[in-house]
């Protein structure tokens, strides 16, 4: 079963290499405009489009916070980097079917944005 998925997995890794080269962290940072609501959505989408080690998202997120980007947006970015992945959608469809993929990703998208807002609010209250 695993070996039958090997070409798809290798293809995904090839695509990750391409994206990591063509879409740099600096490029992602330019999408943020300093508006909390819009930036939360941008953070979610940028994280979903990005690939690579989550450490990159932490470091980039730290930089974005220092640039004045809202905690909501940065949290959404860090979360969606791991939970949502445009690049792995073909594999997810192949493994679990379209229905499961759509439902899981919609739940993860809503969950990511909600958790980002709740985390930002809670940290503010605790501060």
């Amino acid at each position: 079963m695993f070996w039958s998925m090997a070409p798809l997995l290798v293809g995904i890794m090839g695509l990750v290499g391409l994206l990591e080269t063509l879409v740099t962290p600096k490029m992602l940072a330019t999408f943020f405009r300093g508006r909390p609501v819009a930036d939360t959505l941008v953070g979610t989408l940028a994280g979903a489009a990005a690939t690579g080690n989550p450490v990159v998202s932490y470091l980039l997120g730290g930089e974005l916070l220092q640039q004045g980007i809202s905690l909501y947006a940065v949290t959404a970015f860090v979360l969606s980097w791991v939970t949502l992945g445009v690049i792995q959608l073909p594999l997810e469809v192949e493994m679990f079917g379209v229905r499961f993929m759509v439902l899981r990703n919609l739940l993860a998208l809503a969950g990511t944005m909600l958790i980002a807002v709740l985390t930002g609010l809670t940290v503010q209250v605790l501060s």
């Binding site: 079963m1 998925m5 090839g14 290499g17 990591e20 958790i115």
Partner: protein
């Protein structure tokens, strides 16, 4: 469980996808050869880095298939698994390592043996907590943020799993 014909068409689609990626590399190499080599190197390094994860996944699939009978999987991760199933999925998500897609084959295997979709959702979302990377997160965002976010991730994973089950049931 997939039929032999379904498995063959799945392999074909995988090869087609790989071919498209190779074509993308060739197009990039035509316009910007250094970038294509850089991308190829990054992809290759990723593959090398993931080999231990794949070894673990293959080992787990073999273990599941050899030792765990479907009845046992259903008891632990199926409809009747109860609180134990939710906690197992949460714990497995938190301690699992590597990118999400590396775990898809094992999750599919468990699902085909009777594992619940809600628990799959819990497992995949709980993977947001990366235990080895927590010190870096604390360094970048602070301890308060890390604790609050981790708490919400665990709760969010359970809520999403529950919602998935409700949607599936309807």
């Amino acid at each position: 469980m997939k039929t032999e014909k379904g498995r063959q068409s799945s392999v074909f689609r995988g090869r087609l996808f790989l071919l498209l990626v190779v074509l993308a590399y060739l197009v990039l190499a035509w316009y910007n050869a250094p970038a294509a080599f850089h991308a190829l190197r990054r992809g290759g390094l990723l593959l090398l880095r993931l080999l231990p994860v794949f070894a673990v996944v293959i080992g787990l699939i073999a273990t599941v298939n050899y030792f765990l009978r479907p009845a046992l999987i259903v008891r632990w991760l199926g409809r009747e698994s109860g609180l134990r199933g939710w906690l197992l999925a949460l714990l497995a998500g938190v301690i699992s390592h590597g990118p999400m897609y590396a775990w898809y084959p094992m999750v599919r295997d468990l699902r085909s043996h009777g594992g619940r979709d809600g628990l799959v959702v819990v497992f995949l979302f709980a993977r947001c907590i990366k235990v080895p990377l927590l010190p870096i997160m604390v360094d970048s965002f602070g301890l308060r943020f890390t604790l609050v976010l981790s708490g919400y991730i665990l709760a969010g994973a359970l809520v999403q799993g529950w919602l998935m089950e409700r949607i599936q049931r309807n």
